[in-house]
């Protein structure tokens, strides 16, 4: 019998074109996504007058800079923003790369669109000049973010040099309780291990709780791998994965699908495969979790209070907490549920898929949001689907803006910003200083928790809210 092998190693080995004397591997890349920010890489290619080696495996997506008020380039006030979107069209056209552009009915955030279109498949190696590329690992692929020099390298060669990371497994035992989402699982492990806790590792998520997650929830979990410093996050493909992929536009069809499925079914960590690090969580320890600081590791269950630096014995931790509390405008020891918010945002590649919108709408139905806010679906197809289900009405009736799809307020590149000093309950992935705009204060949480915050006007425990609500609110959730 051959030595037991991890899922990660199986996929890695299948893509190793060459190994250098120094131990670096040249990896074959199955899918490469480029977006507006990839202009630096296209410029590097132009400097050397190199063609795109495999335009058929390269896909352009307009998401980071697109307007969300209207699908109209002429309406974009900032000429530099407009030029970013135009440059992507020009570069993809010049090199014969398929573009999912601003006015394409399939347009969406790259990490929502890839899976939705069936471009993301198990066993692949996938890259994109965006750190949340880890998302695609939910299908059992090795997917990771790269910088512009590496983007240029992949464009020129369809390969990438990589040192093999160590592999860790995060096992979540038991079943998640009602109201606990993949976002809570992610924030919990990141709070426990730290924002660099998985640095140098590829992560495999395993265990009963993970197996029970829907494909969309798995995408949320893998998406956040990078917030714990992981190189990538993976989940072994199973029936949930195969069912999701069947009949997607770019999925293999007919016999090819069966052939692919037979191979995909071999992609799991063999019993006895050894990991460099094993971490185990129990589902019943995981509560609805929110961030209070400026790093995703500064996260706590909603029924707790923000730390008091005076009570922390580790001087480095105390210093960091003091700095974070000051930026966030919070009082040491303040209860999380006493934190008033100024606005909400539901969107981003982390939490703007149809299930996310349904979960948020289930809480908001029949209620008014106490604060202004915005909902930006993860893709134009998600938007269409949500409108078919009437979710847009629920958001609009609650007083929130129903926008087009794009990265929007996750990063503010298109001008959708949180004002300085404002506090936003957000379904996004980064609570960094200034991430949602200069001086913006971000609290990360799941879509139902953002909805709960919206109806309460402060951070709130979704469990206490749903417990007291009538059944019609529950029913509109359409889980």
């Amino acid at each position: 019998m051959s030595t037991p092998t991890t899922l990660f190693d199986k996929v890695w080995q299948a893509h190793e074109v060459h190994r250098s004397d120094s131990g670096q591997s040249l990896l074959w890349i199955d899918r490469h996504f480029v977006h507006e920010g990839s202009f630096h890489a296209f410029n590097k290619l132009a400097e050397r007058a190199l063609p795109v080696a495999r335009p058929d495996l390269t896909f352009g997506i307009a998401d980071h800079y697109v307007p969300t008020l209207a699908r109209d380039l002429a309406g974009v006030a900032d000429p530099k923003v407009r030029s970013m979107i135009e440059q992507l069209s020009q570069n993809t056209q010049q090199h014969g790369v398929t573009l999912f552009g601003l006015d394409d009915p399939r347009q969406g955030i790259v990490h929502v669109l890839g899976p939705e279109q069936g471009l993301t498949q198990p066993g692949m190696v996938m890259v994109c000049g965006d750190s949340h590329t880890a998302t695609h690992g939910a299908f059992g692929s090795i997917a990771f973010g790269i910088g512009a020099s590496e983007v240029a390298h992949v464009l020129a060669t369809q390969t990438l040099w990589q040192s093999k990371p160590k592999v860790m497994r995060i096992t979540v035992e038991g079943q998640l309780a009602e109201g606990i989402t993949a976002k809570d699982v992610a924030l919990t492990w990141i709070a426990r291990l730290g924002a660099d806790g998985a640095r140098g590792y590829a992560i495999e998520y395993a265990g009963e709780a993970i197996r029970s997650l829907s494909m969309e929830a798995r995408l949320t979990l893998c998406n956040l791998s990078i917030e714990g410093g992981g190189r990538c996050g993976m989940i072994a493909p199973d029936q949930t994965t195969f069912d999701y992929l069947r009949e997607r536009p770019w999925s293999p069809k007919g016999d090819a699908f069966d052939q692919a499925c037979a191979y995909w079914s071999t992609l799991y960590s063999d019993p006895g495969a050894s990991f460099d690090l094993e971490v185990t969580l129990h589902a019943d320890e995981i509560a609805p979790t929110v961030t209070w600081g400026v790093s995703p590791e500064e996260a706590l269950p909603i029924d707790r209070a923000v730390p008091d630096p005076e009570q922390l014995s580790d001087p480095a931790k105390a210093r960091q907490a003091r700095d974070s509390l000051a930026y966030m405008g919070l009082t040491p020891g303040q209860k999380l549920t006493d934190i008033k918010i100024d606005r909400v945002f539901i969107g981003s590649c982390t939490n703007a898929r149809i299930e996310d919108l349904r979960a948020a709408a289930a809480i908001l139905a029949g209620h008014k949001s106490r604060v202004p806010g915005m909902v930006s679906p993860g893709s134009t197809l998600v938007k269409t689907q949500a409108e078919a289900e009437g979710l847009d009405r629920i958001f609009i009736d609650a007083g929130l803006e129903w926008r087009h799809s794009g990265c929007s307020m996750c990063v503010g590149m298109n001008g959708d910003l949180v004002a300085s000093g404002e506090r936003c309950a957000s379904t996004t992935n980064r609570n960094f200083k200034g991430r949602q705009g200069p001086g913006a204060r971000t609290h990360l949480m799941s879509p139902p928790m953002v909805a709960a915050a919206a109806v309460s006007g402060r951070l709130a425990d979704v469990r206490t809210l749903t417990a007291g609500s009538d059944s019609s609110v529950q029913a509109s959730g359409a889980h």
């Binding site: 670096q24 040099w161 640095r199 960091q320 200034g434």
Partner: protein, 212 residues
């Protein structure tokens, strides 16, 4: 790319943990062409107030700070977004080396691809260097061959992957290196597509399928 062997110039202490790439360069500056020089955007929101007034106390606004080549910081430097612009901001400002107990993975490889040395030191060693540098630019010596850093009396060693060390010492560029393997890549691609034919991206017959 300019090779690095020894740096002997000014160093600055940025005594903070988790200096993420959003801080290193706020997103709004990334639509500028590189030719404008990204150094002006480095840590922009950290060193200016909301009206754009520079914070005179900030280390990069101290006399001679614009000659600094080495930055020393705390753990998890360059975490977050894969934006290579964060490295451009450091490099265009004049930095050739960042010293920290840990780096964001993508930041570190972006750094090496732009000739910026990410030197990893123990947490206590970082604290000693920060203390030795103090709150003004000060003399620092970095030797990549010997893998050591010196500030006044404080001398510490740093680690870096041997592959990256070789690349930086020689100023090598990946694309040139890889193109020497062109033949191997072509052979691999043929073999791979025979073994995994479904990985070829087949454009769909009907473009749109919405599935909830």
């Amino acid at each position: 790319m300019q090779p690095i062997t020894v740096l002997h110039n000014l160093g600055v202490a940025l005594a903070a943990a988790n200096v993420d790439t959003d801080q290193l360069i706020p997103a709004r500056f990334m639509k500028e062409p590189r030719s404008v020089g990204y150094g002006q955007f480095l840590l922009y929101d950290v060193r200016h107030d909301e009206h754009g007034t520079p914070d005179a106390e900030f280390i990069l606004h101290r006399p001679k700070a614009n000659n600094a080549e080495v930055m020393v910081s705390r753990r998890n430097f360059g975490a977050g977004s894969s934006r290579e612009a964060a490295v451009y901001a450091l490099v265009d400002y004049g930095f050739r080396c960042v010293v920290a107990p840990s780096f964001g993975d993508i930041f570190a490889s972006n750094a090496v691809n732009n000739g910026l040395l990410p030197a990893v030191v123990e947490e206590e060693e970082a604290e000693r260097l920060l203390a030795a540098l103090g709150d003004a630019p000060a003399d620092i010596y970095v030797d990549l061959e010997q893998q050591l850093i010196r500030v006044a009396e404080v001398q510490v060693s740093f680690s870096i992957s041997p592959v990256w060390r070789t690349k930086l010492l020689n100023g090598w560029d990946d694309i040139d290196m890889t193109r020497q393997h062109a033949h191997t890549i072509t052979e691999f691609a043929a073999h791979y597509s025979a073994q995994f034919p479904w990985t070829a991206a087949q454009p769909p017959e009907s473009a749109i399928i919405s599935k909830g």
